[in-house]
Structures are given as structure tokens and as C-alpha cells.
Amino acid sequence: MSDIIRRDPRAEWIARNRLHPLHAAMQPVQQSWMGPNGVIRKNVHGVGFIGPNGIKRIDRSGAQQGGAAKRTAAVEVQLPLHQVAAPAFYINVVPDMVGGRLSSHDRDLLGLARQLAGSDGAVLAVVFGEHKESAFATAGVDRLLVLEGHEFDGYSPEQRVQGLRAVDNQFNPRHWLLPDSRSGGGELGRRFAASLKERPATRVWQIKGEECVGRAGAGQEDLARPLPRLILAAVECAEPVSETRHEVLPVELSTALARSLPRIEDLGAVAVDPAAIPMAEAEFIFSGGNGVKDWALFHQTAAALGATEGASRVAVDDGFMARDRQVGASGTWVTARVYVAVGISGAIQHLQGIGACDKVVAINLDPGCDMIKRADLSVIGESAAILHALIAAVEAYRNGAKRDAA
């Protein structure tokens, strides 16, 4: 892109047009403001705009147009803030938070909660333990309750039910919404319902007024019933929130939590053979493409990381990997949380196949390839050297962890 300053007649037109949705974003930066001592400060250099020939123009008639500041290509549009000062009632949501972040199911659920809350109610999200989510505001959370404490670590459904009961006593929400998912929400919601002795609506996919519709039996029938207080909602139960921003005010429990002696003890995750996990549902995929020259090293690295192996179409066509390992439009559409692409340049068919992945790591020689544009972390360099270093680093990390435990 050249540095020649060009006029943008459309931007000028938007800056003139107060009714245009982008009007606020197109306004030039503030030129005078009140200083800390009450003196008006002015930015004399910011006055005026650069004309079409690169000469600064100052229009003192007050009809100055066109921002003086060079605008970036994408204007960050600030969504309107939805505030609930004194909530008339609460809609409580317990998101799954797989990997510490809101999943798409959680976002759908928050969208449903937003519908139920209307303008008077507040959506209260209850989150257990640490989280890594930074987008609660745009997901539609008005109040956030984080229940911390090591008693919620690991698999602790009974303790979590105790926590939810305490929240229920304090906020007395109009509805409880949980995702009817296998990653925790379905189980927690049913345990909570059994402990409250309330009948929940399960696998709900539609709510119309005071009636809800959920799948029944093996999916052959629908069950329509009056809307209960506890709702376990299926995926895509509602559109996620997209047009407003929310406050995410932190709230706290006023009472200390009742501790119950856990009857189920969590002894931790068990190592499973990563090759036995179906590719479509593997959590961590280590995928190789045309850039991999040393396939023995590739397999060794995958084993060291404990990842399921994948491959691009080129690697499969060349016979380095089996056909059932192919990722992409004509292979498997994967849903991994973490996808490591080694020597894959990122054909559009491959990028479609990894569309649902959360975090993509690329190791590649070519800094301009499409995979780098998609990746969250890219390392430019020779794959063999990086894989050797990665094996060494993982072993060092595991040994260090063992020494800490001993």
C-alpha cells in the first residue's frame, strides 16, 4: 500500500451525515480538552486535514470534513451498551466453559437467556473456578458470579450442586438455564434438578412465550409443555447475542458455601491411545503436510505430545499417511480445540476442514501462506529442527513436572 494520502469522498459524506450509522467513527479526533488544572488544552497540530495534494488545509468556516487522522481499514464499531441498573429478576445461566472459554453452545444459551430476560431482567452467569474468557460482555452477560475455591477443581459435581443451591437461595432466579451437553452441563443440570426436586425441561430447542418444545425419547418425538423454571437447552436453541454489549458486573455470594464430603473421588484423567480416538472428535490434532520431510520424526513428535495424527491431502496422496487421516473438505471435518499444522500451506479445502478449531498453531517455512493468516500462533522455520526442539521441550517439561510431584 502506498503512503499517498487520498481523499475519501464517501468518508467525508459519512462525516457530514449525522444520521449515518458510522458517523461517530468518522469524526476527527478531539482537538481541545480540559487539562488537569482546569485550563483548556489544544492540539494545534491536529487542526485541519491533509488535502488531496498532501498539503495541510485548515477550514475555519467550521465545515471541515474528512478525518485528519489516518483511518485503519476496519473501523471497530462500538456496540450499544445494555444496562440493567436494578434487575427486576434474574435469569441464571451456568455455561459449560470447555477449556475455560464460552463454547458456541454457551453463547446460544446466553442468547436464549437474553430473550427471556427482556429489558427488566438481568442475565447472571455462574462460572466455576478459573476462566480464560474475555468476551462475556458481547456474549450477553449482565452479572457474573465466579465461584472460586479448590473444592470446585476437577470433577466435583456434588460440590457444584451445593454452589448452585446457594446461588438459588440468594438470587431466586426466574429461570435456570443449563446446556444439555455431554461436557458437563447436562449432568450438572440433572443433578441440580434432582436436588431441588423440580422437573426440568430437557433438550429444549424452542421457547415460544410460556411454552417450550424439547426433543423426547430417541428423537422421534417432541414434547411441548409449559415453561418450567429449570431448562436444559439443546444446541442452537436461540441466536447468540450480537447487537448489544453488556456490563458484566461482578456479584458475590453473601454466604459461605456449605462443604460436603465428596462421595466420588476424582483420580484424574487416564491416558488414552490418541490413535484410537476418531479424528472428528479428537481434542488435539497434530497434522502434517507437504512441508514434512522426515515422517518418522513427525510420528515421534505426535507420540511425545500425545496428539491424534492428521494430514493434508498432499501427504495422503503421496502415501505418507492413511486416507482416513485426511483433514479437509474431502476428508474429515475436525472439531479439535487445538490444531497444530506442520508444513501445511493452507489450501481453502483444508481451511474449511479446520473451521471449527479453536486454536491453530502453524509451523511453516513460508511466512506468506494462508495457514499463517488463519493461525493464532505461527513459527516460521524449518519443521525438522522445530520438531526436534519440541520433543526435547516436552520431555523437559514432563520430567520437571515429575520432579515437582516427587
Binding site: Y155, D376, S378
Partner: protein, 256 residues
Amino acid sequence: MTTNVISLVSIGAHPTSGRPRRAEQDARAVELGLQMAGAKLQVLHAGNIHEPTLRSYLGMGLPQLHVLEQPAGSDALPVLSEYLREAGAQVVLTGSQAETGEGSGMLPFLLAEQLGWPLIVGLAQVESIDGGVAHVLQALPRGQRRRLKVRLPFLATVDNAAPKPRQSAYGPAQRGELAAHEVEIEQDELFTGAVLQPAKPRPKRLKVIKAKSGADRMKAATAKASGGGGQVLKGLTPEAGAEAILKLLIEEGVVR
């Protein structure tokens, strides 16, 4: 000493034809029970004793199947909890949800609450039962497993991660005995307010593009998927690059 195991079974429905069949997950519960207790396994059903499909459970090699006789639409929870309390079971296995009726999957949770027993969800394998303590493997999404320690007696639901059920043979199915038990009948109040209707296909979610300008719409229609703010590490030593990758993998919790 073998453990006293009871499997709860129900009548399933074929997903395409809707004909009655042995329920998929309940058959897995029976299979797991047979692996744990062999011929001593008790199998329990609450419902109609004259349903011919019940015999397909007997065909898995069971000498006897206990039936708490109930008409359709009655509440199975009180009779089951009363029976289980008196049967002296140490492990109760169920499928995770019924294939007919409401199928809310609440029954094992309510039973566990009434009996005051711990409940394991998604049991994949029982590793050992020793001195009143069981070590079991729980199936998690994405093919993962978790080891849990639980005191007897406990309830467990099985889902599709449990071992595949053995085939049902015709001869044993006909020879097996259906033992009827008389129980009090209690009506389930669900269907006073709820209606069962044929399932409507769910509408496919549309991709809504909320672009304000034509340029944005054009971009949304033509642009390739891109993460945008990805971090690019260039000119680093392989060790530093590997360190950065490993840090991300540990943060995401995939390398343990």
C-alpha cells in the same frame, strides 16, 4: 465374593422404523452387568410384562428377568427405588436416557437422590471392586477417560462408550423366565400439561451477515477465513519457537 449387580432395562424404539426393540444403552448396561457379575446379574424392568421385546434381553444369556408390573404412563420412580432399597444391590446400572416417552434422562438422578447413593455418569469400565470401594473409568467427550473412586453402593449410567452388547439369541430368549412382581401404581403427572407430538425437523441455522455497507457484505461473501490477530514468530531459534508452541499447548491443557 461377587458383587450384587442390578441392571435396569426399558423398551427401546428403532430410530428409523420406530418399532420396539431392546434399548441400545440398556443393552450395554446389561452387557456390563454380565461382565461384572456373570449369571448372578439381576435385570429389572418396570412396565408391561406381555411386551415380546422384553425377551430379547433374556436372549443375552439371562435365566430370569424381574418385572414390576405397571400400565403405560405410570411413574416408575417410587416402585424402582423401593425395590432397589430392599434388593440389597451394590451396583445399579442404567442407560442414560429412555428411547420412548419423555426420555429426560432424569430417572437415575432421582433414584440416586432418593436412595442417597452416589451416581456415576457415563460409566465406561469397572476396573476393580475391592473392600467396598470401586475404581471405575468414566467416559468423557472426545474419547477421553477419567478414573473415579467411589464407595459401594452406587448407581451408574452407561452411554455409548460402554462395551458393545452381545447378540440376543432366540433359544435362551424363549427359555428365560419373566418373574412378575405386584406393585402399587402411581400416575405420572407429566402428561397433564405436556403433549407428545411427532418431531419437527429443526430449521438449519442461517448465516446472518449483519454488514451495514455494501463493501462489508462483499467482504463477508468473498473473504477467506482468517484469524486476523495471529502471532507470527519469525527469525527465532527452533528452541525458542518450540518453547512458544509448548507454552500455548500447556495453557490450553492438551499437554499434561
